[in-house]
């Protein structure tokens, strides 16, 4: 069994209302020094077999077709250390 992580974030040019809401809340909670916050998704995919190249290619396809909406999001696939 292997765990592959897919990080999905809005593309930089798309405004991120969730990240902005967090960003606005921080000073009110007394947190300064934060320039920007962006909020995305993290998927932990547990594979039956090993995370070899073939498996990673499959996860990448999964991300491309389902986990991310590539009109507005970008994704990264990596094996969890």
């Amino acid at each position: 069994m292997a765990r592959v992580v897919v990080d999905v974030m809005l593309k930089p040019e798309i405004l991120d209302p969730q990240g902005q809401a967090v960003n606005r809340a921080l000073p009110r909670l007394g947190f300064d020094g934060v320039v920007d916050v962006r909020q995305g998704k993290r998927f932990e995919v547990e594979l039956e077999g090993p995370a070899d190249e073939a498996a990673l290619a499959r996860v990448r396809e999964m991300a491309e077709r389902l986990l991310a909406n590539t009109v507005i999001e970008e994704y990264r696939v990596r094996v969890e250390a």
Binding site: L10, I14, P17, Q18, I72
Partner: protein, 233 residues
Amino acid sequence: MPARIGVVTFPGTQDDADALRAVRVAGAEPVSLWHRDADLHGVDAIVLPGGFSYGDYLRCGAIARFSPVMESVIAAAHEGMPVLGICNGFQVLCESHLLPGALIRNDGMLFVNRDVRLTVEAADTAWTGGYKAGQEIVIPIKNGEGKFTADERTLDELEATGRVVARYLDNPNGSARAIAGVANAAGNVVGLMPHPEHAIDELTGPYPGPATDGLPFFTSVLQRLIDSELVNA
């Protein structure tokens, strides 16, 4: 043969009964379509109603888009069949790439249910022929992820080609350029965040009114079908 308008039910769809009622009130024959059934049962037009297909988990509309019925809807849409996506249905159409852009979390972060004022900007789509361009109407919205977003180039193109179907007067969710609905280039596919099917009846529509501003979406498509002699009057 009267016009048959299909209403798709995905698991988690909520407003299918309302859409079926709106179709009936408009004078067409409502036909229920099931997400697992690729057969469109001879319908002349299709409504993808609101709700929370697959719980809106992952992204709104993301999972529903892969259902068998959507393969047929996409194919039919490409051939010119009128398709209206309302709220969650709009999200499904965007996920299916039948419409540009995407719908993300509202600026206010919260679900908002409110009667809103819109202007109908494009009166030449399959679903808006019964309105006058620029006409102001009142229709409810109810969404948590209703903020329309797209890159600037896409937005410019939508504006330039008259594909912005409706615009909010008081943008309730932070949509780009206050866009409430868009159409595809051919004008047969329309996505709309507000719910016209909730504004078809004096008793249950927006209060204090006007209560039935949503009905023309459904009568418009009927007229279009009759005009194009797809169905008999």
